[in-house]
């Protein structure tokens, strides 16, 4: 029965639920694309702090892609004579598909709001990456044997828990990445968008309500697509089906079928005995 019970664990504690800390304790990062100069210090600081393999100095013409050794990078877009940049990494959703489909319990909701990750528990199934609305998680290892391990930004969990900022935020020299309480950052972000609106009518704050609220917020000058962000990211319906429908169906169907078949044997046995077919 434990087996059946565990088929679907719908009781993952959401960061915004009453089981957890209140909204005022939620941490977040605010990324202001207008202040980003593309220095890649966030990228380097992430690699340095997390001991990730270093690569050649990145350039906007050939920006590094997210990989098991690259948890944060810059999305570069031509802008007049130069470039604009948007920091790209895990968005730390409040309603995170990766957490919901992770059967190993490697991904979980931190009480501080971000999506925590314990690589020791990861079995490398890759369901997280296939369900992430932003396509962030990456697998290393051998896909034929399935001996793999997922990697993604973990919000510098140890640093944040110890009261420090994430390495990328600390490294940012222009204030394009700020770390703090989510509520405060939303207020700041809205204020900044208000300042930009005159010159850039499409300016917006991204992440306030997307997927029940992201823990990486963006001040954008233009619509999200321009920065490689989905306008309206969705929790995949297949994840909901796997989580809330398939498990319960199995838990009902199997005992019902087994009981029906057992009943059939009993009835058949008694009736056959009555007319002397079994003894």
């Amino acid at each position: 029965m434990v087996l059946l019970y565990n088929l679907v664990s719908t009781d993952k504690v959401r960061a915004d639920s009453t089981h957890s800390t209140s909204d005022t304790d939620q941490k977040a990062m605010l990324v202001d694309v207008t202040k980003c100069i593309g220095c890649w210090w966030c990228y380097a600081a992430c690699k340095n702090y997390n001991n990730l393999k270093e690569t050649a100095r990145p350039s906007p013409e050939d920006p590094p892609e997210l990989s098991p050794d690259c948890w944060t990078t810059l999305f570069a877009l031509p802008n007049g004579d130069g470039w604009s940049f948007r920091k790209q990494a895990c968005m730390h959703c409040t309603e995170a598909a990766c957490v919901e489909v992770c059967t190993a319990g490697a991904l979980s909701y931190s009480p501080l709001g971000f999506v925590a990750y314990d690589p020791d528990k990861c079995i490398g199934c890759g369901y997280c990456g296939e369900h992430c609305p932003f396509g962030i998680p990456r697998l290393n290892g051998n896909s034929v044997t399935g001996l793999q391990k997922m990697q993604k930004c973990n919000f510098c969990e140890e640093r944040v828990s110890a009261g420090l900022q994430p390495a990328c935020a600390e490294a940012c020299p222009t204030g394009a990445i700020t770390f703090g309480n989510r509520d405060t950052l939303i207020t700041e972000g809205k204020k900044r968008v208000g300042e930009l609106k005159g010159e850039y009518p499409k300016a917006m704050l991204y992440g306030e309500n997307e997927l029940e609220g992201l823990h990486v917020l963006y001040v954008l000058q233009d619509s999200p697509e321009v920065y490689g962000l989905p306008e309206n990211p969705q929790f995949p319906i297949a994840a909901t089906i796997n989580k809330d429908i398939i498990g319960p169906i199995a838990r009902i169907a199997w005992p019902v079928v087994a009981a029906g078949l057992a009943l059939n044997v009993v009835v058949a046995w008694f009736r056959q005995r009555r007319h002397g077919e079994v003894h």
Binding site: L3, C125, G146, G247, V257, A268
Partner: protein, 219 residues
């Protein structure tokens, strides 16, 4: 006592191999849903075991078809040959399987309609498992994420149905009082003449006729 051969040695070995692989796939597949078992190491091992099982599940029938393509073809043909008698089986089945008068069931061939349905179901199930499994194993990151997501859903739905079919197969083969020679026949390949006549009347007639012919020609 008269004994009739029902399953060749190759068919019986094949049956038990597939049975073992099925159980192995069920266990290694279900473990992924139990977080406290799927730690790093065991989780990886079960995923390798699931892949090994999948290779055998695909490879064994192909090998069988190479060694005995006639038998393999017959297996498929029998399952796909449907007629008016199948409707009569369906009508008589509830009473028959709930221990009613066995004479209400019209004489059946080598396999009856229920067995045909089962063959179609396990074949269809295997196709679903293999296609969705192949995509998730080899095409992860190549096909769009939505394709992967729905393969996962389909793989799981097929699994739920497959377990129900397995329960039914197990119940009929092992526990059902009317199929009292079923499990033994998958062990030694034979059923009694009486069982053959009452359960597979049309087939028994054919077998008996052949036996008579052989008997008379040898004298």
């Amino acid at each position: 006592m008269e004994l009739v051969e029902r399953y060749t040695k190759r068919a019986r070995w094949f049956h038990w191999l597939i049975a073992a692989v099925f159980i192995e796939l069920v266990i290694s597949g279900m473990l992924i849903f139990i977080p406290w078992i799927t730690s790093d190491t065991i989780g990886s091992v079960t995923r390798i075991l699931h892949r090994v099982g999948a290779v055998i599940l695909v490879g064994a029938p192909l090998l069988y078809a190479i060694f005995d393509w006639r038998g393999a073809w017959e297996f498929i043909r029998e399952g796909l040959t449907w007629g008016k008698e199948d409707l009569e089986w369906l009508k008589a089945a509830p009473g028959y399987y709930f221990g009613g008068d066995p004479r209400m069931m019209p004489p059946q061939g080598y396999i009856n309609t229920g067995m045909k349905l089962y063959r179609v179901a396990i074949f269809g199930g295997a196709v679903f498992f293999v296609i969705t499994g192949f995509i998730m194993w080899f095409l992860k990151g190549i096909v769009p994420a939505a394709v992967f997501q729905w393969c996962l859903v389909l793989h799981d739905v097929t699994f739920i149905v497959a377990i129900c079919m397995f329960f039914l197969h197990f119940q009929l083969g092992v526990f059902h009082p009317r199929m009292d020679e079923s499990i033994l026949s998958m062990y030694d390949g034979k059923v009694s003449g009486m069982y053959a006549r009452s359960h597979h009347g049309k087939w028994y007639e054919k077998v008996a006729k052949n036996n008579n012919k052989e008997g008379s020609s040898s004298t």
